[in-house]
């Protein structure tokens, strides 16, 4: 059986971990198979749980989150016959599949959507904890926005520096209000539980918002412009489906293979104008073709668009 | 001596009154027992108090006096026994019930809210209606009446913490009167009072008695018993051992009843043979934290082998004088010990350096200063001297075994009961706590012993012992500076007496050539310095 370990945020974080969980559930439902999962409490448990699973013969073992890299490096070597999949990080081992996402590409599209939706030239971003991964989202978003409105302004705020920043919807709401009063019309939330407060406040304040990781359009129908979906669910689903014969190596999930994207559904149909749609499609094509390369913040920890 | 040990029990035989007879006793306790865990504080106690009388209760520390009265006041619940007030059996489940039965109590440690005003304290628990304003207004007028009637004047708007102890006590009495108490219990009321205040209190009590109120008075001072009570009960180890008419007994008899042996009520001492000057104080000033000048230029000296007694009404600078000498208050001026000047400020002015130079100090307040109540006796026995080399095992560790052995010895020597070094200080009675402090300070064999209120709240047996120890130290050629509000004590212990008033020395007297009256006047700042007497 396959197994999956969720990161400290917990499997119901309405975003990253939850997407992974959904992928596993979808697999279980479709194949009738069963799998095991566990949530972390502490950093020291990463290696412990990996081993627990490996020792009990679970295969493949998927872990949601870059923080598992260090633990996986040692464990993978100890269990050469077990296949592992790590999401959001590259671990160089013969029995590991590393799934990384080009979040910047999806965020770029979100930025374009924001640029078209905004009447003025200011949009904003609320991040959760201040870590490079979140800046990667912000940077792509800003680039996309500026590709449409080069003189425009993107306000970037982070909720905090501790893990509590993932679970403070009230503060998320306040940041959103502050951004609104600074002129922002569209806010992109990449902030876990905090993001729920952002989406809520945006709806209350008559702003548009953009969800993250999972499709969050339904959370505030008519107010969520779109969601920058990161198909972690697909990554998990794939890994589970391939089972013990999991293909190892690096697996980049970008626009080209539907790894990231912006969600279009009945909840936001009314918000998507034809021009916006056209611009998004065009950018998608250009990114896939390589004509446009969206800057990856993680590559040099800086962002030309800020 | 006509001891009616059976008095209590005889009273029990009186007809159980369903209809109260006119002259039913104000209070009748029958068979009261109370245990605190394994401690039997009261054993089958019966007592009858007639209306309109003053009834005294005496007994050693820990005999169970406070417990008995607290039961009557509903503070503790008795394990067994019944309470009859004016012939009616009453259930006193809490203080509210006691108050409605007309009982008021002034506890040994006042039950006042320090940062409330007098008025607020008085109405607390006895307010009329949900809003304070009418209650406060009513209390204000009533208080005025009461204080006029009984000479109990206090400023109704003063904060309790700003009042002297004597005034705080008045507030406690006013509280009881405001609640229309006609039975008033006072637990060691004079322990903290100056003689003048105590006299004032007794006048108030006389007044109350004349009004037909019944008063129960717990005290360690036989003089007070003789002076104002009509009957007196003696308690020992939780039992009521005797109840007698005050007129039929003598202090000596009472003391023997209490302690179970003959007690010396006056101090036996040889005349002093003063030697070299140990302590010299010149022009000492002390300003406290609030910026009030407490000591205003004092000159004093104490010789080896003499006891200098300082008397004065509390709050006239004696406390600060001791504190400066003991090293935990800063002052200005000159102090010399054995001819060498002492640092009054800076690094070497703390208690540790004072002790290192041979000054020992028995502080006025054993609970807050002299002892750590939660420390065991042996730990308390080196308190302040814990840096002394003889208590160190090596550079890092203290020699606990040696300290315990030393404590055991001192406790035996000073007759601390029980002589168990491992008991926490708080589980000793007041007198025994005081003996621990004394043992610690005297056994250091200091050149100068500072000693404040050595016998406050201590029973007669212990007082006798403590006084003997002080005299022994003097006879060993040490200098002793004694501060006490007890004129008796000052007069009988001191070789020389200085009176303090308003931060200054009003004058010095020899005990043989003065009396309570003169000292009392000087303490009030009235008498003038008589140049002929004190100069030497």
């Amino acid at each position: 059986d396959p197994a999956i370990i969720f990161d400290l945020g917990g499997k119901f974080d309405k975003s990253f971990n939850e997407a992974a969980f959904n992928g596993a559930e979808r697999w279980a439902k479709e194949t009738g198979g069963s799998y095991r999962d566990v949530e972390l409490q502490s950093d020291a448990q990463r290696e412990q749980y990996l081993r627990n699973f490996a020792e009990k013969g679970f295969n493949p073992i998927v872990m949601a989150g870059f923080s598992f890299a260090t633990a996986l490096e040692t464990v993978a070597a100890d269990f050469p016959d077990t296949k592992f999949a790590i999401i959001d990080m590259v671990v160089d081992a013969p029995n590991v599949r590393s799934v990384v996402f080009n979040e910047q590409e999806g965020s770029y599209l979100a930025g374009i959507a924001a640029a078209y939706a905004a009447k003025g030239d200011t949009v904003s971003f609320v991040g959760g904890m201040d870590i490079p991964l979140i800046s990667k989202f912000a940077c792509g978003y800003a680039e996309g926005f500026k590709s449409v409105k080069p003189e425009g302004k993107v306000i970037v705020n982070m909720t905090g520096t501790t893990p509590a920043a993932w679970n403070d919807p009230v503060k998320g709401g306040e940041l959103t209000r502050a951004q609104k009063s600074a002129g922002s019309e569209v806010v992109f939330a990449a902030a876990g539980g905090t993001g729920l407060g952002v989406l809520q406040t945006a709806a209350d304040e008559g702003m548009l918002s953009i969800g993250v990781d999972s499709n969050q359009n339904y959370l505030q129908p008519g107010s969520v412009l779109t969601s920058m979906v990161k198909r972690v669910d697909n990554a998990v689903y794939d890994a589970f489906t391939q089972g013990e014969n999991l293909e190892t190596g690096i697996n980049v999930m970008g626009l080209s293979n539907d790894g990231v994207g912006v969600a279009m559904d009945e909840y936001n149909a009314a918000l998507i104008t034809p021009e916006m749609k056209a611009a998004i499609d065009e950018a998608t094509a250009k990114i896939i073709s390589g004509e446009v390369v969206v800057h990856d913040y993680m590559s040099d920890e800086s962002c030309p668009a800020f | 001596m006509s001891v009616q040990s059976e008095a209590g029990r005889q009273a029990t035989a009186a007809p159980t009154a369903s209809t109260a007879p006119i002259d039913a006793p104000a209070i009748e306790l029958r068979g009261i027992s109370k245990a605190f865990g394994p401690v039997q504080a009261n054993k089958d106690i019966s007592i009858t108090v007639k209306k309109g009388t003053v009834h005294g209760i005496i007994g050693e520390n820990g005999a169970g006096k406070s417990t008995l009265m607290s039961i009557l006041y509903g503070f503790y619940k008795a394990d067994a026994g019944t309470i009859h007030i004016k012939g009616q059996e009453v259930q006193i489940a809490d203080s509210q019930a006691a108050i409605s039965a007309g009982i008021g109590m002034v506890f040994q440690h006042f039950k006042l809210v320090e940062n409330f005003t007098v008025l607020e304290n008085v109405i607390l628990g006895a307010e009329d209606g949900g809003l304070l304003k009418p209650s406060l207004a009513k209390a204000r007028t009533l208080l005025k009446q009461l204080s006029d009637e009984y000479q109990l004047s206090v400023d109704p708007d003063a904060l309790i913490e700003d009042l002297s102890v004597g005034h705080q006590q008045r507030v406690e009495i006013l509280k009881a009167l405001y609640r229309q108490a006609d039975i008033l219990i006072l637990d060691e009321p004079t322990g903290v009072l100056t003689p003048a205040e105590a006299d004032h209190l007794f006048r108030i009590l006389e007044g109350l008695k004349e009004q037909g109120k019944t008063i129960i008075l717990i005290t360690h001072k036989l003089r007070e018993i003789m002076e104002i009570t009509d009957t007196v009960s003696v308690m020992r180890r939780g039992e009521m051992t005797a109840t007698v008419q005050t007129a039929d007994t003598t202090p000596e008899d009472l003391a023997e009843l209490m302690v179970g042996r003959k007690v010396l009520l006056h101090v036996e001492k040889k005349p002093a043979t003063p030697g070299a000057q140990i302590l010299e104080i010149e022009n000492l000033h002390v300003v406290d934290e609030q910026g009030v000048e407490r000591v205003k230029g004092i000159d004093l000296h104490v010789r080896a082998g003499e006891i200098l007694g300082i008397c004065g009404v509390a709050g006239n600078g004696q406390t600060e004088l001791l504190e400066v000498l003991g090293g935990y208050q800063n002052g200005t001026g000159t102090i010399r010990l054995n001819g060498e000047e002492i640092d009054l400020t800076g690094k070497n002015s703390d208690g540790q350096s004072r002790r290192a130079r041979g000054i020992s100090h028995v502080p006025e307040d054993r609970h807050d200063e002299g002892l750590i109540l939660n420390f065991q006796a042996w730990e308390n026995m080196v308190f302040g001297y814990h840096h002394a080399p003889e208590y160190q095992k090596n550079r890092f560790l203290m020699d606990n075994a040696a300290i315990k052995a030393m404590t055991q010895e001192s406790m035996t020597k000073f007759d601390v009961r029980p002589p168990n070094p491992k008991l926490e200080a708080k589980s000793f009675s007041g007198g025994n706590q005081q003996k621990i402090v004394l043992a610690r300070e005297i056994e250091r064999n200091p050149d100068l012993l500072l000693i404040g209120q050595p016998t406050r709240g201590v029973d007669i047996g212990a007082i006798e012992f403590i006084h003997q120890q002080i005299v022994h130290l003097r006879d060993a050629g040490k200098a002793i500076l004694l501060v006490s509000v007890e004129l008796d004590e000052i007069l009988s212990l001191s070789d020389r007496i200085a009176v303090m008033f308003d931060g200054k020395i009003m004058g010095e007297r020899l005990p043989s050539e003065t009396n309570e009256g003169e000292l009392g006047l000087m303490m009030a700042g009235i008498a003038e310095e008589n140049p002929g007497e004190a100069g030497q």
Binding site: F66, T70, I131 | G326, F396, M398
Partner: protein, 365 residues
Amino acid sequence: MNKMPKWADAVLIPLISILLAFLLSGLVIMAIGKDPVMAIKTMVQGAFGNSNNIGYTLYYTTNFIFTGLSVAVAYHARLFNIGSEGQAALGGLGVALVCLYVPWPHWAIALPAAMIGGAVFGAAWAFIPAYLQAKRGSHIVITTIMFNFIGSALIGYILLNYLKVPGSMSTESARFGAGAHLPTFHEMLAPFGIEFNKNAPVNVSFLIALLAAVGFYFLIWRTRLGYEIRAYGQSETAAKYAGINPVRIVVIAMLISGALSGLMAINNVMGEAERLIDNAVEGAGFIGIAVALMGRNHPIGIVLAALLFGFLYQGGGELSFWESIPRELVVVIQALVIMFTGALDNMVRAPLEKLFIALNKKKEA
């Protein structure tokens, strides 16, 4: 004269309290539709079942011993140090700096240096609140809470801007050199022919923690400083009378407290992670409060309480691992244990006391 024999006070009451806590926890487990007997089995098995599990239990225990001792030292001086969390975090920074910037040849040299680094940084983080309390009367409870927040912001900033490995996703420092690797129980016990799981994170720091507990005992009950700390804690006025300088005691007690918290980093940062991770303390500072209070501020009590919490942490983790019980259930069990052993112990004590008094009376009669 005593109401109760010592053993009843020290052993019986905590035992009954823990039992009650587990009983109630069992009800909660039943309420969410699981089998409590199974759960307790899983927890015990998960915490002590094999050397791997024991290794994890002891690893957590080590953290809690350090923070528990830290809180207790301050408590003896009547200072309520809520700041262990932040002090331990800063200790982590100290340890990381020591380990990162010096190419240590051998752990035996690296460890003392790291201990100094952790202790100094932890103490430094306690110093300001201590100084403000002593000199300005600023309430130490607030200032230490504030310093927890400030500390986490500071560590985040330093990690992100100075220590992070460029190009890495995680907010964490580079891995320490091999010379800073602390021997785990596996490595320590192997020479004696004892097989201990090689993956368990428990390491030589555990022994250091026990030493710290012994040191704590001597400090508090055998030295002059400890005597003064306790005296000050019991009564400030009496301490002044005895010539004990309050400012000095407050500052020193807090420095020691901070240093003990900081020392925790040799376990989690140097011993386990071998690099500095963001939020490496993970609430151990707060658990330290419970450990100190439950351990009655005595080293033996603290070690036992730390072990109990280590058990709850590890056993609870296994419980959520194997039984798919939400990991927060462990927090509930912890809460109940703290409640019953810490705050509600009179509930157990009062009837027991009565029982013993009655028994004694019977014996006497």
